[in-house]
């Protein structure tokens, strides 16, 4: 039975037509076996383009369609739907990637055109063998797991919870809030971070649809879109969460009269006791005990004054152990955030060597009313700085550290310049390479700060050293070329603030593997498409939001969190998701029951039917990798959409004219 194949070549404006002679390709396609028409059009993905396919199927009785355009990962669905609307089984469509794989990567029009012809020939040969297939649908469980409870996780959780969905919010720190909870003010509006964040934190805690697990880690993820089985370990805080009311009695009563250990929330600028609350608005407002510093937990020999203090509440439990939770969710949102650049990697900035050098995040804590100095900007030596240098691009835009721009540093450096001036009246010098203030109200903020008399020096800081070595003076010289004055500036200051860049979390790679998604080279989680699928990943049902995907400010983070929530919502409300029907199946008559295939399958989808003495595949479990197909010695296993014959034809096709 001879086929009636229609071939469509997309110009994609000039994207393809600029490098591939689309007319010639269309004419050539028309000459291929079974092809009844070869057309080219400016934008095949546009309505007219799709209509055309639909009409041709009806009028020209097409029974196969080949579309040569962009990557199938982008528009395969579009054209399948178009064909379906024309009354054709959607799997009778084959796409040819002549944009990403051809026009965009080659420079010689002739050979690019040749390549297009070869690829189309392969598709034509292949599509002729296509079989009609039915969509594979899997139901979506309504629960959502959100990993990371910074502003992104919090916002996504509330959005979903308010839509009536069940949310599990897992945070590894003892409190939710993430980095935002550490900030003092937020640019460009200078509203106080706590004032806008803590209400959201409270509603997360009180929301009936949100199960909030702090001080917990996701340890195992099984299953697939619609049906993920997740294991969470709740680490012991040695305080029973639902009994503690955060009254701090135990903390006051601790045998340590003063805080003795660097307190994590204040980046070690303050001290805490072994039993502590991360910060006053911590959520949940539940104390925890640090096993590494608590005498009782270390030696078992403590007066346990904390237990007395807690009294009848009996919230303290030194016997507490990690608790393992198993949950089932349909979708997952990763909002695991970022870590700040480690300034020690640039030794000549003297962080960790000169006490006068601070990271921006440390200064956020110093100017914050709930910080270690109650908002007083005093340095490690107890003095207020009279002059402060703020260094931009520390660990950003530098091949020796991170090539990318961290996006937020210019703005927060300006913000800190303003705050420092406001709190101390010090002379402030901002050393920048390029002042990047793209955003609503950003440029206005820049001029406002400039107007406050902050010195803006265009030059990357090249060196920081003590003003007079030996004599123990704390003053530092910040050396940079003032590229506008064209002279080397050596500015003596009391305090240096490093505008550190953002980096992927240290364990981003483990997390990535745990959830089976990809990372960009910088370690940020990779979105499915940089523009059209910014919160999707290559794994269905897993979405990303906030800085785990790349540096961004709070507004963008919140927007992205909303988007991720919406994507999850869309899946949940659809109730089911359509999957590629590319699963494997057994041709019973061919199967010798040799069991070769069984160990091949990572999803244990294959078993052996012992009375029939053949293998059987559980289609629900099969994800369609095709590994078993390639392994079967008797060729009894086949894969929909990737049948051996189809691939052999494709090979013939690309090589035919040799």
């Amino acid at each position: 039975m001879s086929k009636r194949i229609g071939v469509y070549i997309c110009h994609c404006g000039t994207n393809i037509a600029g490098m591939v002679d689309v007319k010639a390709v269309a004419e050539y396609a028309a000459t291929l076996p079974g092809v009844v028409l070869g057309r080219d059009y400016k934008y095949m993905c546009s309505d007219p383009g799709q209509e055309w396919i639909k009409e041709d199927i009806k009028d020209q009785k097409l029974d196969r369609v080949v579309v040569a355009a962009c990557s199938p990962l982008l528009h395969e669905r579009t054209f399948r739907t178009a064909a379906a609307r024309g009354g054709l089984n959607q799997y009778y469509v084959q796409m040819v990637n002549i944009r990403e794989h051809d026009a965009w990567v080659h420079t010689d029009k002739a050979s690019a055109t040749e390549k297009a012809k070869d690829l189309i020939r392969a598709a034509v040969y292949r599509v002729a063998l296509h079989k009609p297939l039915e969509k594979k649908e899997v139901p979506i469980k309504p629960g959502v797991l959100i990993v990371g409870a910074g502003i992104a996780g919090i916002h996504a959780a509330l959005t979903l919870a308010n839509a009536g969905k069940k949310v599990y919010l897992v945070e590894r720190e003892p409190t939710i809030g993430g980095h935002m909870a550490k900030f003092d003010k937020t640019f460009p509006t200078l509203d106080c971070a706590a004032c806008i964040l803590t209400p959201k934190m409270t509603s997360v805690k009180n929301h009936p649809n949100i199960t909030m697990w702090t001080y917990s880690d996701v340890t195992k993820v099984d299953g697939f879109v619609g049906n993920y089985k997740v294991t969470v370990r709740r680490n012991p805080r040695y305080v029973i969460e639902n009994l503690c009311v955060g009254c701090s009695e135990c903390i006051n009563a601790c045998v340590y009269k003063e805080g003795k250990f660097p307190d994590e929330f204040n980046l070690g600028l303050g001290k805490r006791k072994p039993v502590y609350l991360p910060f006053p608005q911590a959520t949940p407002l539940v104390a925890l005990i640090d096993p590494d510093t608590c005498i009782q937990l270390k030696t078992g020999k403590c007066k346990k004054t904390c237990i007395e203090a807690c009294g009848d509440r009996k919230a303290i439990d030194f016997e507490q152990e990690a608790e393992i939770k198993e949950i089932e969710v349909g979708t997952i949102i990763l909002a695991t955030g970022f870590k700040i650049f480690d300034s020690k990697r640039i030794p000549y900035y003297g962080y960790g060597t000169y006490p006068g050098v601070y990271t921006a995040l440390e200064v956020e804590r110093l100017v914050n009313a709930s910080g270690p100095t109650s908002g007083e900007l005093v340095m490690r030596n107890g003095q207020k700085p009279k002059s402060v240098a703020i260094v931009h691009c520390v660990g950003s835009r530098d091949e020796n550290t991170n090539k990318y721009c961290s996006r937020v540093c210019c703005m927060y450096s300006l913000k800190l310049a303003h705050l420092v001036k406001e709190r101390t009246g010090a002379e402030v010098y901002n050393f920048y390479i390029d002042m990047r203030t793209p955003g609503k109200g950003f440029e206005e903020f820049y001029s406002k700060v400039a107007g406050e008399g902050v010195h803006m020096i265009r030059g990357k800081v090249a060196d920081i050293y003590p003003e007079s070595p030996g004599n123990g003076s704390a003053r530092l010289v910040v050396q940079a070329e003032d590229t506008l004055l064209n002279m080397i500036r050596k500015v003596p200051v009391d305090m240096v603030v490093l505008g550190v860049g953002l980096e992927a979390q240290a364990d981003a790679n483990d997390v990535r593997r745990l959830f089976n998604i990809s990372c960009s080279n910088d370690g940020w989680f990779l979105e499915r498409h940089p523009k059209l699928a910014p919160v999707n990943t290559f794994t269905d049902g897993i979405f990303i939001a906030g800085c785990c995907q790349g540096p961004k400010d709070i507004p963008d983070t919140v927007a992205q969190a909303g988007a991720a929530a919406a994507e999850a919502l869309a899946l949940i409300d659809a109730g089911s998701i359509e999957l590629e029907p590319n699963t494997a199946y057994i041709v019973d008559t061919e199967c010798s029951g040799c069991k070769t295939c069984i160990p091949m399958c990572p999803y244990t989808a294959i078993s052996r039917n012992d009375e029939k003495k053949i293998a059987v595949i559980n289609e629900a479990l099969c994800k369609g990798c095709g590994t078993c197909v390639a392994a079967c010695p008797s060729g009894a296993i086949k894969q929909n959409l990737f049948e051996d014959e189809e691939i052999f034809e494709e090979i013939n096709g690309v090589l035919a004219h040799v």
């Binding site: 691009c393 990357k460 090249a462 940079a480």
Partner: protein, 190 residues
């Protein structure tokens, strides 16, 4: 190769020979100048950053007239710190070569005149071992005389006061043949 390469192209070409350092990558941040001990001490009339800008702007005469590259101590500190991976020290070497060649010959390339002087010089210095490392004069001349000797590197170069062969080199003839194959122009005087 169609039309005559610009100064910028020429310098880029020089750099390519030393593992390619695209000046186009320069973002004018001034890390090089801020790091440079000599610029920092105020000896350079143009900072290294400015030199790069001038090259990219094709200001050949102003670049060559600048003292910057002759003041480079080749300490490579700028090179390891450049956020755009530009080997600035190598650039300074390139400019020195370029300047020397151009003083010597009509256009660009190693002109015959220079090659000749150069090969002669090699042979001569090959016989009388005379290190350029100023410091090594100390034991022969003593500091003040040595400093009176001081000249610009160019003149020094062409006066042939370069260390090449320790007096004891044995296979001098082979050695000369080796060098002839590298710079074929001109005949070494025997």
């Amino acid at each position: 190769m169609a039309d005559k390469p610009t100064f910028r192209d020429e310098i880029a070409g020089l750099l390519h020979a030393t593992m390619g350092n695209p000046l186009d990558m320069c973002m004018q941040c001034g890390t090089c100048s801020g790091t440079c001990p000599v610029a920092g001490a105020g000896f350079m009339d143009n900072s290294p950053r400015r030199i790069i800008a001038m090259i990219n702007a094709d200001l050949k005469q102003r670049v060559l007239a600048s003292n910057t590259y002759w003041y480079c101590a080749s300490c490579y500190h700028c090179t390891v710190r450049c956020p755009r991976g530009i080997d600035i020290t190598e650039l300074m070497y390139g400019l020195k070569r370029y300047a020397i060649w151009n003083k010597q010959s009509k256009e660009g390339l190693i002109g015959p005149v220079f090659s000749e002087t150069f090969v002669k010089m090699i042979v001569r210095t090959g016989r009388s071992y005379e290190p350029v490392l100023a410091t090594s004069y100390l034991f022969t001349l003593g500091v003040p005389e040595m400093l009176r000797e001081a000249q610009t590197a160019t003149s020094l170069m062409l006066k042939g006061r370069l260390p090449l062969l320790p007096a004891r080199i044995k296979r001098l003839d082979n050695f000369k043949r080796v060098l002839k194959r590298i710079i074929p122009l001109g005949e070494p005087e025997e």
